[in-house]
């Protein structure tokens, strides 16, 4: 053994040591990331049942899972014709009455259910989906991602600018910023759930009621109009500090001399912000945006705790199909779709922001 070793050059020895050191990490990652990923891709083409208890091999069903998740159809809704007058029927307010969506959408060979309706050039259309719940989950996730990441960026930048200026208690502020970040997401969701109770025992209803807004029984978590804003508010509280911390680090990399030069040239604070701060902060901003967007696209904790089965994100719908419906094939297909979404966003971002050029 010793003789064999001595035949190797120093570089070869080094290379061998490197491979040996990498093996544990690569084996673990192969077991928990690459193999499961492969398994998910494969399972997404089968009708495998979760914890079926039988040894029966699942059938290969091609892209059936993807079809049943993403199948869409658009149908024109004919106006209802009054049998007596032969004219299109109108309701009390004079609007045309259309055929019910259920009767317009195809039922065979597969059933399409209503997702939403829209009017176009005076005609009424209905969009049917084979799985409207999943379509809504995609839509919810996208709205959640875009709005919450946008708000977090603006607020995070504001907080970072405040903390970046010199004042007494700056250290305390910086420590405070870590509190929402350090709270377990599930715990923060439950704290907010309690604050958002639909009676005046809940903080928000009590305060809003005192201010003369609302009747003290706003149901933030179950009324459809309030659900999404509530989710976003909870997420913004939890993740703004993270954004602010990253941006703060970026701000501190900007040389002070630039601002002094700007002041000498008579640039206003606004001008300094747009001509110095923002351009130099761009790389940090890009990375922070990527992190947060990828995170928001796979949002699970907040949706699961606050909404349960009332409203899904892509991730909670995946969980629901896997555990609730035990439909492993379909859940795997959802997993693949989430993966593709995230990969696409990552690539767009990196191209757009020029991160990969470095």
């Amino acid at each position: 053994m010793a003789r064999k070793d001595s035949k190797l050059t120093l570089a070869q020895k080094e290379q061998r040591t490197a491979y040996r050191l990498l093996i544990p990490a690569l084996v673990i990652l192969a077991a928990v990331a690459f193999y499961p990923l492969f398994e998910v891709f494969y399972t997404s083409f089968t009708n495998r049942v979760f914890a079926s208890g039988t040894d029966e091999a699942p059938d290969f069903i091609g892209i059936e899972n993807y079809k049943s998740l993403l199948g869409l159809t658009i149908q024109e809704m004919p106006p209802v014709i009054d049998t007596e007058t032969g004219q299109p029927q109108t309701d009390a307010s004079g609007k045309a009455v259309y055929e019910r969506a259920v009767r317009v959408l195809p039922r065979t060979p597969v059933r399409y259910r209503e997702w939403f309706q829209f009017s176009f050039f005076g005609k009424r259309y209905v969009v049917g989906a084979r799985d409207p719940e999943f379509m809504k989950a995609i839509w919810n996730t996208l709205v959640f991602t875009v709005v919450s990441v946008f708000l977090e960026t603006i607020l995070g930048l504001g907080v970072a600018l405040v903390v970046n200026s010199n004042f007494k208690g700056r250290g305390v502020m910086r420590a405070t910023m870590l509190v929402p970040w350090a709270v377990i997401t599930v715990v923060s969701a439950r704290i907010w759930e309690w604050m958002l109770q639909p009676t005046r025992a809940g903080l928000f209803n009590m305060v809003l009621n005192r201010l003369g807004l609302g009747d003290g029984s706003l149901s933030f978590l179950s009324s459809p109009a309030l659900q999404m804003p509530t989710l976003i508010a909870v997420d913004v509280w939890k993740t703004t500090p993270f954004m602010a911390l990253l941006l703060l680090a970026g701000l501190q990399l900007i040389p002070r001399e630039l601002y002094e030069a700007g002041r000498v040239d008579g640039a206003s604070k606004f001008r300094q912000f747009f001509s110095i701060t923002l351009p130099l902060l761009k790389p940090t901003l890009a990375v922070a945006l990527i992190f947060r967007t990828l995170d928001a696209l796979r949002a699970f904790d907040v949706f699961q705790v606050l909404m349960g089965n009332r409203m899904y994100s892509m991730a909670t719908y995946n969980y629901y199909q896997l555990i609730g419906n035990r439909n492993m094939g379909l859940a795997s297909a959802i997993g693949v779709i989430i993966f593709i979404f995230i990969a696409v966003f990552a690539v767009i971002y990196m191209r757009f922001m020029g991160v990969d050029k470095e």
Partner: protein
């Protein structure tokens, strides 16, 4: 004119401080509300309108510790605390150990395929865990591991790439001369790693270890899925999300808030102590790219 400028300056200062105070309250208030609610009895919690302090119906200050007593008497919460500590602790150790091996190789040694390995690890830090949920379940069933062990193994998905990445950056920054002089003295690469580089990277270990611990302590989706059939292995996030309390007439928010405070305080203390390191760790990956 100067008077005008002075007024503007005072206005600006006041505005600034209002902003600072507002941010301060915004970030701390939900936690304050949890503490406040955790000190209220069942009837105080149902009082309308809700009060900013735990007071009784006469308005007298009367906090109670009954929620804390209840959660510690109830075995579920204590077991969850224990499970979380074990799982997050061992996850951290494993991720640091295995991660530092790989990081040493990538940060200090020359080998074929280094660039590809680096990219692989970096792309894994962005890997969406939710995607592999069903596949991972299959792996775990095949390996037939205990639930806690399966959790530790699955948490490698998000902790291992991260610790490896952060530690690689630190190893790279260590001067190569130290290493070379050790080699000249006849130390093997592994000895160099264990006796010279490892002690030097202790600060980086603390940083990435803390962040890995917090991430594992926080994890919900795998824990929720894998403990569906093993309630005894539930971790804190799962226990708190499914909390029904000992007397389940309605959702026992008093006890949930007490639980929230108990699990948050240690982390917040830890975060305050290691504030600087954590911020460094969070930004190391992000700012330097």
């Amino acid at each position: 004119m100067t008077g005008n400028k002075r007024t503007l300056w005072i206005l600006g200062k006041t505005g600034f401080w209002i902003l600072v105070i507002f941010i301060f309250f915004y970030m701390l208030f939900p936690f304050y509300w949890a503490v406040n609610s955790s000190l209220k009895s069942e009837s105080q919690l149902q009082m309308t309108p809700a009060t900013f302090l735990p007071v009784d119906s006469q308005g007298r200050f009367s906090p109670t510790l009954q929620n804390y007593v209840a959660i510690f008497k109830d075995g579920t919460f204590v077991r969850a605390l224990w499970n979380s500590t074990i799982v997050a602790g061992l996850t951290t150790l494993l991720a640091l150990g295995v991660g530092s091996f790989a990081a040493y190789a990538m940060g200090k040694l020359r080998f074929k395929g280094k660039k590809a390995t680096l990219y692989l690890i970096l792309s894994l830090t962005m890997f969406p865990q939710i995607t592999v949920l069903s596949g991972l379940y299959a792996v775990i069933t095949t390996l037939n591991l205990s639930t806690r062990l399966s959790l530790i193994l699955s948490y490698m998905i998000f902790t291992l790439p991260f610790t490896t990445w952060v530690l690689t950056a630190f190893f790279k920054e260590l001067p190569s001369e130290i290493m070379q002089s050790a080699w000249v003295d006849g130390a093997t690469p592994f000895q160099t790693f264990r006796m010279i580089l490892l002690p030097l990277t202790a600060p980086a270990m603390v940083t990435s270890g803390l962040l890995a611990f917090i991430a594992a302590w926080n994890e919900y989706i795998f824990a929720l899925t894998f403990t569906t059939i093993a309630p005894g292995a539930r971790t804190i996030p799962v226990a708190i999300s499914l909390f029904t309390g000992s007397v389940s007439r309605q959702v026992p928010f008093g006890e949930i808030m007490a639980g929230a405070v108990v699990v948050t305080v240690p982390i917040v203390v830890l975060v305050f102590i290691f504030q600087r390191r954590i911020v460094q760790g969070l930004t190391a990956g992000a700012v330097k790219g």
